[in-house]
Each structure stands twice: as structure tokens, then as C-alpha cells.
Symmetry: C2
Amino acid sequence: MARLTRTEIERLDRNDPLAHKRDEFDIPGGVIYLDGNSLGVLPRAVPARMADVVSREWGESLIRGWNDHDWIDLPARVGDKIARLIGAAPGTVVATDSTCINLFKVLASALKLRPGRKVILSDSGNFPTDLYMAQGLSALLEAGHKLKIVAPEDVEGAIDETIAVTMITQVDYKTGRRHDMRAITKRAHEAGALALWDLAHSAGAFSVDLAGANADFAVGCGYKYLNGGPGAPAFLYVAPKHQETITPPLTGWMGHEAPFAFDLDYRPAKGVDRMRVGTPPVLSLSALDTALDVFADVNMNTLREKSVSLCELFIAEVEARCPDLVLASPRDAQARGSQVSFRCDYGYPLMQALIARGVIGDFRAPDIVRFGFTPLYLSHMDVLKAAETLEEIVATRAWDREEFKKKAKVT
Amino acid sequence: MARLTRTEIERLDRNDPLAHKRDEFDIPGGVIYLDGNSLGVLPRAVPARMADVVSREWGESLIRGWNDHDWIDLPARVGDKIARLIGAAPGTVVATDSTCINLFKVLASALKLRPGRKVILSDSGNFPTDLYMAQGLSALLEAGHKLKIVAPEDVEGAIDETIAVTMITQVDYKTGRRHDMRAITKRAHEAGALALWDLAHSAGAFSVDLAGANADFAVGCGYKYLNGGPGAPAFLYVAPKHQETITPPLTGWMGHEAPFAFDLDYRPAKGVDRMRVGTPPVLSLSALDTALDVFADVNMNTLREKSVSLCELFIAEVEARCPDLVLASPRDAQARGSQVSFRCDYGYPLMQALIARGVIGDFRAPDIVRFGFTPLYLSHMDVLKAAETLEEIVATRAWDREEFKKKAKVT
């Protein structure tokens, strides 16, 4: 891409149909936040909602809150708000538990739907916890299940009649590489397999079309692009055709047909509700609920256009300014999520130096610096400033200090 | 028990060593809250902590919060605060997920430790979700496991060499009946079985001695006597002797030996940390963390003495004032938790009428009215007023109105 002039970049911001959304977030002064793919920023309406749910809903209603504020249906209400962003019909998504737990639920359900098949197919670009959960489930079942891990580019070719389910994260957490959900799902179905998608780096980042792709199951994260706060509840999706036939592995009272009948025997609830387990986490679900309201008037195609524009600008500026950094993300925007990564030998201290200057991205071993682009609160001028800061650190070797080489507990 | 005079009751409150604790809670005016066994009241320090964790920790630190505020170790820090209340050593309890999910983790771990045995023993007084989780796990494993449900009084006698694990809730949610943890655990071990305890109605209600009883596993709830808020994170306990040998069934990255190495293969973390799964729910864990500070200066034996005193007073007053109500709880305080229940044909509308007058307890089908006694924020005069209100409703048949007979969604 030819580089834009500063004037042209400023014009992109002036014409940005999403520019007004930035006011709906509280971003610390002096920070350019390129880590919304790890933990989203605080939506401005959340503190008041949290104060209200704590002091009024809990503090005043107490146990009556379950009826007075319909806490019991929060997982479904929040799920429906997420459904709109991922191409899912109302009543197919529930917000609950963590991504890991939800993955376990849908993966175990998928395996039970394909009893004669023993292979779970995933790829080495998947976020490790998904692989761990599949390994743990296979070990638990002691039924000969096997997790087969291939290179990301080999997924489609590896789908054959042995595969029970493909378990793929749509966007690679390291490189931002985006899988073709429609093609892989189609190929899985042709081979008689089911398709399970992890949307951790997709939901809220661009328009996802689960129903259009005919996906069977999906899970995703509430604290990245959905801005639900650290450790926010996650979500899961079950295609309508499977809702009445799946056998949930985690059969808690909130997934019972009549939770308050207190029967001694489990009977699954209708629809996706059977994938609920324990008492809903009302405080954290309320934060996510309000965070999602930011998306209410957002056209996801407009969001995607801006995301591509931000990412393209960043790639062009960094490549021109920092020759040590090698693009690790696909160059083709169609093959990327809303993230741009570079490889760099001194990636760890480089990122620490960048963070010290208020440009926050993150590092993934062994050598990836990773930048998430969240069109709701980033401008093109933010991107330019981030690239300028990166250039300055690289040019002056400002990263080459002991303080930036010390490993933190959490990276 | 002989009835006390009003003067004697007032004296009990004047001499109450826990009287000052009430100021640490925000209780709505006009409410006598006898439902802390269902959802605890709001500790006064929680709103400020929540505002701080939302606006400063999340809003300002953003992703840096994982290191700056040590979010990553919140489950262990909160776990250690709970450990003190349940007779567990530091490093044996983790606060995470829901009670149901935690039960699944420890139950599956227990079954793997007893591969030759197929029976999970529980009782009909257990909270149904525990039974559901065991049924779901058995169905998932397809290995011939069976949940055997006996009457509460038959548990000890039913323990034989077929039992893999006893899965017992210490305090019956309906009647308040308390199992003898030490005796059942001893009997289980004699038969070569493991003992798993659900402390949902125990933790924070009285002193529990998991280590002294030699319990193998335990789980419990954060939102009842621990006052962590609606749907607060739950906890689990693993005895030190099992920590390095158990195979967790839910193998998420937070239970990995090196979560931030992003290896493709799961390796369990040391100790109880391997029972963690996904990203910790920082907002709700923070509320629970602050709620637990209320217990810091509380002697659990003192708490128990007051609990018994409140319960005995309530039983004496209700039995004297309301002959229609039949005690459903054990009369012997040693056999009760911190709860008193009565049977009454018109229990449902009776409880609604009581709630309408600000005395909040709850109802459990078919005919149980249930009252939880939380010594940290209840006085003996509260108990007397509650009994007086109950008497007035019974005497005047004030419960006999259509508005009190309408069934709510959540009971």
C-alpha cells in the first residue's frame, strides 16, 4: 500500500463514521491502546451499572433480585446481544462460565453426536487452552479419543471420515491469521464431521456469520473485543438443529427443565438453556451486558471497513519505519482478523519500552509483538502515533535497558 | 427451651460479642433478613472496592492489571481467606467457577482415584444440582458409574466396598440437618472410599474442620454465608495428599504448569492450582475478596454460639406462637446448621406475606418455610420481631390473599 500523507490520515478520521463511539469509552490519558484483543477498555456506562447492580439490585433487593431484576435470564439476554454480532439467531447463544468451560461443554456434546469417530481436529495456531481442554476431555473419557494438531494451512486437507469434530479458533491469537469459516465448515460437513468455532478474537472484531456458515457450535470470550472486563463471562452457541439432541456433560440446575422444582433427577432444559450450569454471575454478567450496549447502533460491516483501514495503515507505517520488524500477519486483509503482528528478535523489551511510552500492545513468545485494532475507540492518528513511537524506540535502541528485559509474571 | 422474657432477649444482644459486626453490612431499612443462607447481604466495603476495581484497576491499568494488581493470583488469595473458615491449610483452596463446576472437577478426580469402583453415594437431602452433576458425569463417562441416593439417615450404613466416593452436602438446604462430617469421612475411608463434601450451607455459617475430619475434597458457595454477591465465584478444596496425584478433568490454561509458555501440551500445575481452568473473573472475585474481610476478626466458635442462640430462640418463639408450624429441622442444635425450617400447608403464601412485611426467608416445595440465621448481622431482637410478625400473619390469616399465592419465576 502506498503511504498516506498526514493530511490524508487526518481526513480518514474526519470521515470516520464510528469516530463518535470513542466517547463511549474511558481511556486513560496518554494511552494508545492496541491490546483490546487481550482485554478491552472500560465502556463509560459500566461503572454506573456496576454501582447500581451492587448497591441497589443486590444491596436493596437482596434475594428478591432474582425476580425483581430477572437475574435468572441475564445469560440469555446477554447471549442475545452477542448473537447479533456473530450471525446467530436469538435464543442460540448463552453468556455463561469461561471460554474453557464452554468449549468443554460443546466439544463433549459434539463427540457424543459422533460416537463412531475418535479424532478431534485442531491446528497449532489454536490458543493452547483449547488444546488442553480437548486433551483433558479425551483423557477423562478413556474412549480412545485423540486430538490431532496440524498446521493452520493444513486444516482443510486433514478433514476426513475419521474426524468427529473440527475445533478451530477462527483468528490466530499470535498472527491474526483468519480461517475461512464457511469453507472449513462445509468441508467438515462433507466428511460427516461437526464444526466447532472459537470466536475469542472474532466476536466484536468483525461480522461473523455462524448461521450462514452452518457452524454447529461456537464459543467465545467476553473480555476482549466485547469489553466486558477482566475475566468477563464467556459465551457459547449451539446451532438450532442440535439444541434438542445434545447431551450436556455439565448438567447443573440452571440447565434443568425446572430448576426450582428441585427434583432429584436431571432433565435437560429446552434449547440452548441446557448448556447453563450453575447460578449466573450477576455482577460480572451485568458489566458485560452494559458493555455490549456500545454495539447497539454499530453496523458490523462499517466496523470491519475501519478495522481494515487501521490495520493497513499500521502495516504500511511500521514496514516503512522499522525494517527490523517482519510482518507475521497475513498481508491480505481478507485473511486477517483485527490484529497485526510482527516478528522481532528483541520483541519482549521492545514491547515493554512501547508500553512505558503509553502505546500498549503485547508480546507472545518467542518473538511476536502483537497489536489489536478496535475500531470503536481507535483513530487513524492513534495508529500513526503508535508507528512513530515504535520507530523512535527502534531507531534509538530505547528498548535495550534492563528494566525492559525483566520478565513479568503475566505476559 | 424455656421462653425468655423480652428483657432477657435484650440482654443477650447487649452481651453479644459480635454485635458490632452489623455495622459492616448495608441492610435495607425495615428488613429482617433471614435468607443469608440463600444470598448474603451486601458488606458495606464492597461498593467502594467494586468501583475501584472497575474504574482504577480495569479502567486505568487495563491489561497491565494482571501484573499491577496481581489479578492472576486472586483465586488463591481469596481461597486462602476461605480456607481459614473451613479448617483448611493455606494453599488448599481455590476460589473459581461455580459450585456445580467445582463439584464436577473434584468428583471426576475422585472417580479416577478409585478406578475399580463405580458407585457415587449421596442422599436425598442433597441439593439437587449436586445429584444432576453426578448423573451428567456418569453419563459422560459411559463407564458404568451409578449414583446411589439414600435417605440422609442411611448414609453411614450404605458405605461399603462398592462406593468410590461419598458426595454429601453437610447441611441439608431444606431442613438444616447437619451431617457428621468426621464420622462419615472416617467410615468412607474405612471402606476404601473417598469423602467429598459440599459446604454450600456451612462455609461462613459455623466452624468447619476439613483437615481435622480428614476430608478428601470439598466445594462450596461464595454467595450465601460468605456474602460475595449474586452468583459469586465458588470454591473448592483438595486435601494435600491428593494434590499431586489428581488428574483434573477440566484442563484449562490457568491450571497449566506454565500458562504463559503457551505450549501445545497440557501439564498440570503444582498443587490445587491445577483445578483452575479459565481466566479468573476479576470483578466478581474482587467483591468476594472484600466480602471475606468481614470475617478477619471473627472467631468462628463465637459465631457458632450466637448462631445456636438465635436458632434456639426462633424455634421456641415460633413453636409457642404458631401451632400450625411444625419444626422440620433437628431439635438438637448439634445436628443443625445455621438454619431453621418449619413445615406448613400454606407455607408458600405465608412466606410471601412475611416478605411483604419485611421479614425475608424463603420457601422450598412442597411445604417448607426456611430461615437462615447469620450471626454477623442479626440480633436476638430481630429474631423476636420475626416471630412476632409470623404470629400476626398466622393469627389473622393475612397470608390468605391471591397476591401471595401467585408463583414467582424464581422461588
